[in-house]
Point group: C2
Chain length 508, copies 2
């Protein structure tokens, strides 16, 4: 197309990804949250383009984020396990992923690596989750700056069996959660989101001053268990602490967009807001909302992977638009590289497609969408149809112990507690008229007979070309935990055990 | 307050109620429908004020509409039965309500009666549902004009056991459904919404020409079973025929608002969009969506009674606002009478409150909300808390026969299939952090002990003052069906049976 992109300096727009953690599709006012507590995000939507059919590449934090930055499905980039079938990868006791030995392979070409070669300065603020051992750190994989942590903010730990998670300032530890970086689990108070906002504002200002294009990956995690908010926001939501966290993130997004305006770069900065996976419905009122969608985090139902997504690029993306493009977080890889004028790697499969035409002309490109859980292709979406090749929520043993991935929801043969292999006769749904995946289209119907072969063609094509990456989530070792991160000498360095690798076990 | 209402001629603004039939809270893009197919309603919301906490007075068409026009709960105005406990009132075989002998009592003072005395001209377009015998017709109860039908558009009937429903033009029949007014049940095609739109446009134009204030009650029913849309809209939705109907209604609402603008009366016309009850979830993909709310039509869970509500009054109501007022369709009675400068009847309880301050100043007034089913107070909302005094969905017998009021949803002790009397220990929910009514607040908790007495105080107050009206839905008689409506001689008059009244039976 000969569409002129207004305001872009040197053809190199800045990029900002505002990635939420475990926030659900239904958590934003603009996506139907009934308490309407996200005025800044609703305004972002009114000024930008919403993508109601946008997905993560996996229903779990770590593989989702690896896919986002590599543009490739976890089955390709290695963020899965072969220790057990269709397991998501959350180990027991909240130790995960401190004991995981794997991480993002050097062979993956991450988005910041590509952008760096093109003159961008890249900063990660918040959660990394692509491996916590030194060789996997963000600064070894294309980022120039980092403020945040390699893992979730679980804790506090005892420093004996388990060290607290370090928070990094660039290559060195700047303290640890529950020590230098306080999270009060009783009140839910923490200043982390405030710090992440401040870091973002400083970075934008600095980069504009230097006239150097930038990529800001803002990965705040206040909506991930344990929930937190700063004192100004505690108790301010009608939704409890989860809502307080959302309100602070909403406010922070508003301030970051304002910062782009104040620094005069709003018209040459492409911003995407989204989340890494569906709301953690098993956390009950301590988790978010997936709106009308089934189940949540950990599952390959719509609630597990459909994400509240907004694109914002004033002067280029027309205000108040809705894109019906079936999108994926992996598409940001391809889209940003294309918008920067770079080249997508051709020596490998890249799953992300370019959303450039969707953003500029509101066009829609057909593409199948694959829903994986661990090493298994669970489901596929083609057009408005979705076929489940496999179904399961969590084991009946876990369920009986009170862990419910689909609270209040029960659909016979669908929300199963054992792994059901439906590959010979997949369960078909029309998610246009049935977004909640409640009403199976029976195999005896003409509609089924017409649609299913077209879907299976896409599945077979996908499987034929698939070269699985080396699984990164198979091995665990307590010695690789964050005992003595670089820079620990300014605080305290801990003595870990000797290496003793073993096969990880995966309940989900 | 001394707020100056701009643009109101003679202190008598026009009033328009756009009342949908069985449309759910989650059916509008602005309320979170994922296919985003309501651009006109979304624009109405952007130009007006949305009420995410707005309710019908009953989860069923007929009592809901009687409450809307009388400003009073069905238990007061008589739209309930004492033949069975907590029954909604839908008789078998889709004959209802042609065989019902009752209707709106003369003693009720309806909104159009009050407005008529103040110089308004009132028109009903669409479904009446407040009684179909001559003495209950809209023109006997304050309306000056009518185009529409007294009942639902079920059929076609055989003219022998059952006559088809008449469509009226003012006091006389203008034909019958499936005869002069076609509904093709195979294709879903019907021009009724188109006719209703045209009637509205003509009425607005005429009234503006006469400089006479008006009340237009536009009660289209394309989203009520059997669903229909005109040929331009058939197959246009991603949601099937239900979505086609929504798209045509959305378009029609847009045209009506445009008509107000074109005729220069948008700034002195108060418009409310809402629905008479929750989406009929038991119709599966043939029904609408209640978004994140539990169950639907027929039930007193949030899905049964929370309605997608938008107020629009350019120049007075500020654009893009959200009101957190707990509102009811009954409030339109009080609000409109107050805005017209009239007096609310003082010789009786009126349940509606005035929303004037909510509209003008976005203030919120505390008020309890009562959820009735037939003759029983099932639940009450006070602030963000909701207590269920009784729970049930539908009978296990019906459920086992495939009629499910809560498809895919099952909450132990809540979505019960027998009538559960919880009045000694009501089931408490916080619908701010738990809009889906999934997570009971246990009676052992401090929160329960603190909140429950305050709620029960409201319940006791309400019950103490309650004077139930004479039940209108007790008696049935096949002789009262629409055999020979006024004006039938221009078409055909049918011979009904002799009077034979009997007690109606109510499955739900
Ligand atoms: Ca996550
Ligand atoms: Ca209705």
């Amino acid at each position: 197309t000969c569409f002129m992109i207004a305001g872009v300096v040197d053809g190199k727009p800045n990029f900002v990804i505002l990635l939420m953690d475990d926030m659900g599709w239904g958590d934003l006012g603009v996506f139907g949250e009934p308490n309407k507590e996200t005025p800044y995000l609703d305004k972002m939507a009114a000024e930008g383009m919403i993508f109601p059919d946008f997905y993560s590449a996996n229903p779990l934090c770590s593989p989702s984020r690896a896919a986002l930055l590599s543009g490739r499905l976890p089955i390709r980039n290695g963020f899965y396990t072969t220790n057990a079938h269709a397991r998501n990868g959350k180990a027991v006791l909240n130790l995960y992923p401190q004991i995981i030995t794997g991480g993002i392979p050097d062979s993956e070409i991450l988005l910041p690596e590509v952008l760096k070669k093109m003159g961008y300065r890249n900063k990660l603020i918040g959660k990394w989750h692509l491996g916590h051992r030194p060789q996997y750190h963000p600064l070894k994989h294309g980022f120039d700056e980092w403020f945040g942590a390699p893992n979730c903010h679980f804790g506090p730990y005892d420093d004996i069996d388990t060290p607290n998670i370090p928070v990094y300032k660039d290559a060195e530890m700047a303290g640890r959660y529950y020590e230098e970086f306080a999270i009060d689990k009783k009140t839910g108070e923490s200043n982390l989101t405030k710090m992440y906002l401040n870091e973002a504002q400083q970075f934008i200002k600095k980069q504009v001053g230097k006239k150097e294009p930038f990529f800001l990956y803002w990965a705040a995690d206040a909506t991930h268990d344990p929930l937190y908010a700063s004192s100004n926001f505690l108790g301010m939501s009608k939704r409890g602490l989860y809502g307080d966290a959302v309100k602070e993130l909403d406010y922070s997004v508003g301030q970051i967009l304002q910062s782009l305006k104040d620094n005069g770069v709003d018209k040459n900065t492409v911003v995407f807001f989204s989340s890494d996976n569906g709301a953690a419905t098993y956390a009950k009122t301590g988790g978010g909302s997936n709106g009308p969608f089934l189940c949540g985090k950990q599952t390959t139902f719509e609630g597990g992977m459909r994400e509240p997504t907004i694109a914002w690029w004033p002067g280029v993306v027309q205000p108040g638009k809705v894109s019906h493009q079936v999108g994926s977080l992996m598409d940001l890889y391809t889209t940003f590289i294309e918008l920067a004028g770079g080249n997508i790697p051709t020596d490998r499969e890249v799953d992300g497609i370019s959303l450039k035409d969707a953003l500029l002309n509101n066009t829609v490109t057909d593409r199948p969408l694959f829903y994986y859980r661990g090493n298994e292709l669970m489901a596929v979406r083609v057009g408005l149809y979705k076929a489940h090749l496999w179904t399961w929520t969590n084991s009946i043993k876990e369920f009986n112990a009170g862990i419910d991935f689909c609270p209040g929801e029960e659909i016979e043969g669908v929300t199963t507690h054992e792994q059901m292999n439906n590959t010979n006769q997949p369960l078909l749904f029309h998610i246009g008229r049935d977004p909640g995946e409640k009403y199976m289209i029976r195999p005896s119907l003409e509609e089924y007979k017409k649609v299913m072969p077209l879907i299976m063609e896409q599945v077979n094509q996908h499987k034929k070309n698939l070269v699985p990456g080396k699984p990164q989530l198979n091995m665990c070792d307590r010695s690789v935990m964050n005992w003595s991160p670089p820079g620990c000498e300014k605080f305290k360095c801990l003595q870990g055990p000797s290496p003793a690798p073993y096969k990880c076990s995966w309940p989900h």
